[in-house]
């Protein structure tokens, strides 16, 4: 069940043109410039610094609560970090070069890194310093500046958006959770694609560039690596690609052939939501201070615990649940490999297939976590807008607006249904996974209990 919204003439014109994405990117780039400047030169007081407030409060809330759930990976197509590199790579901003030519050294990204493992470990590496990054404008400014420089160099050396596809620590989870989005770019008729040998959607044409994310649209079955930048819509001479509105989470209905790196991302993000909930918004001031004291013995202990919890304990526990469910089914492991072909004996594949149930749950958890501090602190956005550097400006007359929590009493009433909806989605998906793998329904019980425990644990923390 899907509706090709790009068939509406106005929408089509908007998507085929380049001004929409470029305009939004120009705005996000301007905000990004202010973020870096205020981070480096502005007040070190995070709650009065534009960089901290507009990145870790406003942007993060927009990303988690609005963009990912409703527009999937669209943010990536207007993200300011890869924009300068991409513009240099294309030597154009609006009108593409003939044939969609790119000006890079043309190096190929190493094969063993063509996955999101680097993004997963990049996220974990950032997570180790997150208590510092999230509160220090200078560190935030420098980290974002480093991102933009790495992205720039990557764009000039490698093809397309290699940084976004394989390196960006944010892009990994944004891609995985974008499978929940009610929108998607897909082909209309596979037969048309089969008959079109030139594959301009991948290699580019005078009308546009080959897919910046290395996708072949005809093979795309989920949103994970699609930023909806619209290049394939522009380069398809057959008008066989559309922007669809569809059932949320439709990508998750195929429960076979899931990838281990994406599974790990879901588990890691679940663990990270727990750690952040305890460290950043929990009642343990000493823990937050330890997490911020980078380089101290206490911080090394914190870092070790975080890494073990996220990379070993949570995935290990989930793996045990999958194995237990498998044992309950009393059937030999008969899994599927990439491409959907059944591959008997590959237990890791079953693990990866089941891990997809953490996508709806994980997204719900992250939205609930984000709500917990967004509504409380959003009022910092007004003074930071008028006085971005904390230099005593009052550009819009809001510099002296006092901190006021917005509808804080409503937060639990939003969090509880969200987490329960995520749990229901996860259990329903677990049951579907069991069924599609030929297992009895109660094989899904251990992983469902795992999800239940996660929800109960978080609710205890949020409602305490």
């Amino acid at each position: 069940m899907r509706w090709a919204i790009s068939e509406v003439p106005f929408v089509k014109r908007l998507l085929l043109g380049r001004w929409l994405h470029w305009s939004i990117t120009a705005v996000t780039l301007a905000v990004f410039v202010v973020v870096i400047l205020t981070g480096i030169f502005g007040t070190p007081a995070g709650n009065h610094n534009f960089g901290i407030v507009y990145v870790w409060l406003v942007w993060w809330a927009l990303l988690k609560i609005v963009l990912i759930p409703f527009l999937g990976r669209f943010w990536c197509s207007v993200c300011p970090i890869p924009a300068p590199g991409e513009w240099l790579q294309r030597r154009a901003m609006i009108q593409p070069r003939p044939g969609g030519r790119l000006y890079t050294l043309g190096r190929k990204w190493p094969k063993f890194l063509r996955n999101i493992w680097a993004q997963n470990f990049g996220f974990l590496a950032v997570a180790l310093f997150s208590a510092l990054i999230l509160t220090s404008p200078l560190v935030t400014g420098l980290v974002l500046l480093a991102f933009i420089l790495v992205s720039l160099v990557t764009s000039l050396v490698f093809e397309r958006r290699t940084f976004c596809r394989y390196l960006c620590p944010i892009g990994g989870f944004v891609g995985v959770y974008s499978q929940m989005a009610p929108v998607a770019v897909r082909i209309k008729d596979p037969a048309v694609c089969a008959g079109h040998k030139e594959k301009t959607c991948y290699i580019g044409s005078d009308a546009g560039y080959g897919c910046p994310y290395f996708n072949v649209p005809s093979k795309m079955v989920d949103n994970t690596y699609c930023s909806m930048c619209g290049e394939c819509l522009r380069t398809c001479p057959k008008d066989n690609i559309a922007f669809y509105v569809r059932q949320p989470g439709a990508d998750l209905l195929h429960t076979k052939g899931r990838r281990l790196d994406e599974a790990f991302n879901g588990l890691m993000m679940l663990g990270a939501a727990f750690v952040y909930s305890v460290v950043l918004i929990g009642p343990y001031g000493w823990l937050k201070a330890t997490a911020r004291a980078v380089g101290t013995p206490g911080w090394f202990v914190y870092a070790g615990v975080l890494l073990i919890f996220n990379a070993v304990a949570v995935p290990g526990l989930f793996w045990l649940c999958v194995r237990l469910g498998q044992a309950l089914s009393r059937k030999p492991a008969a899994r599927t490999g990439a491409g959907g072909a059944r591959t008997p004996g590959r237990r890791d594949s079953l693990f990866a297939d089941y891990a997809a149930i953490l996508v709806p749950l994980g997204l719900a958890i992250w939205v609930a976590f984000t709500l917990s501090f967004t509504l409380i602190n959003l009022s910092y956005a007004w003074p930071a807008l008028s006085d971005p550097f904390g230099w005593g400006w009052n550009l819009f007359g809001t510099a002296q607006m006092a901190w006021t929590p917005y509808v804080s009493g409503l937060i639990p009433y939003l969090q509880v249904p969200l987490l329960l909806a995520g749990l229901v989605g996860a259990i329903a998906l677990a049951l579907r996974t069991a069924r599609q793998h030929g297992q009895p329904a109660w094989s899904a019980v251990p992983v469902s209990l795992f999800c239940l425990a996660a929800v109960v644990g978080l609710l205890t923390l949020y409602l305490a």
Partner: protein, 343 residues
Amino acid sequence: MKRNLFAVMTVLLVLIGLPAGLFGYQAWRTGQLAWAAGVRVVDIVARSPEQGGFAPDHLVLKAGEPVRLRISSADVVHGLNIPGLGVDVKEILPGRVVEVDIKPEKPGRYAFACTRWCSIDHWRMRGVIEVKADAAHPAAQETQTAPLYQKLGVNLDAVWPMDGPRPAQTPSAERAAAASGGLPESLLDPSQRVATAPADAFRQLRADPAHSQLGDGEIWDQVAWAWLHDVKPETLSMAGSLYSRDCAACHGPQGKGDGPAGRNLPGMQKMDATGDGASPPAGPADFTDPARMLNASDVVLQGKILRGGMGTRMPEFGSLYTDDELWAMVQYIRTFLFQPAGK
């Protein structure tokens, strides 16, 4: 190509024009403010002492020059007190800017200090404004006199005996007020009493046959009355505010020497109140301790507040307090042991 050119120009505007605009606005604003107000603008950034304290912590101004101080905090809440210029900013919130206009007419050195307990080393957060003389504002003749303890030759660091008489109950000026009378002028006149310790006053009265019918407790009440009979409630109130702001963190709100900032001060280990090496003090002075307070004269207490030091990291307040404030503080800390009239 026109479309690309427009896009490139827009992006260049964002990458170059926006930063230039932001910094240019700040430069213009600072200059414009100074021009509009006809003042020189000086930015002072406050950081906890471990991070550098006030920056700058030494300002040189011209006498009669109007100056706008733009004070901000880079970390926690600070305060700023410049007693000599009548500036008392009670709260400098992180990320906010407080503007204060000053116009120092009198050449000299004006100390300033943080007034909020911003860190364990808060007491180190000081600075000085040096106001230079010119033809219109000549330097005043040096009128500063030596502190009283120096004039009287009192050694603040000497170990004084602590084994004098002690009251069995809290001496009360209130109780003594009704029956007061017959006290020698040397105790009633503050200028004559200043070098006398309460324990010596007790001995003097006890030895006086005129008070032979009084018990020891009543004599102690007379001593309390002698010390506090001329203190005004507003003086105690003012001194109480200063005590809460500057002293309570180490000496405790009740003067018991148990304030959280006074624990484990490195300097305390070097102290030996008894001189026998047996019992170094556990913390800052306990103003409720009869042995310590009854054997100390007012000039000793005033001198210690004024000069600080003593190897205990006690800060000096001579540059921040007026003479009246110093003596008011002495009277206030006496009330930890002597109950004033009206209480």
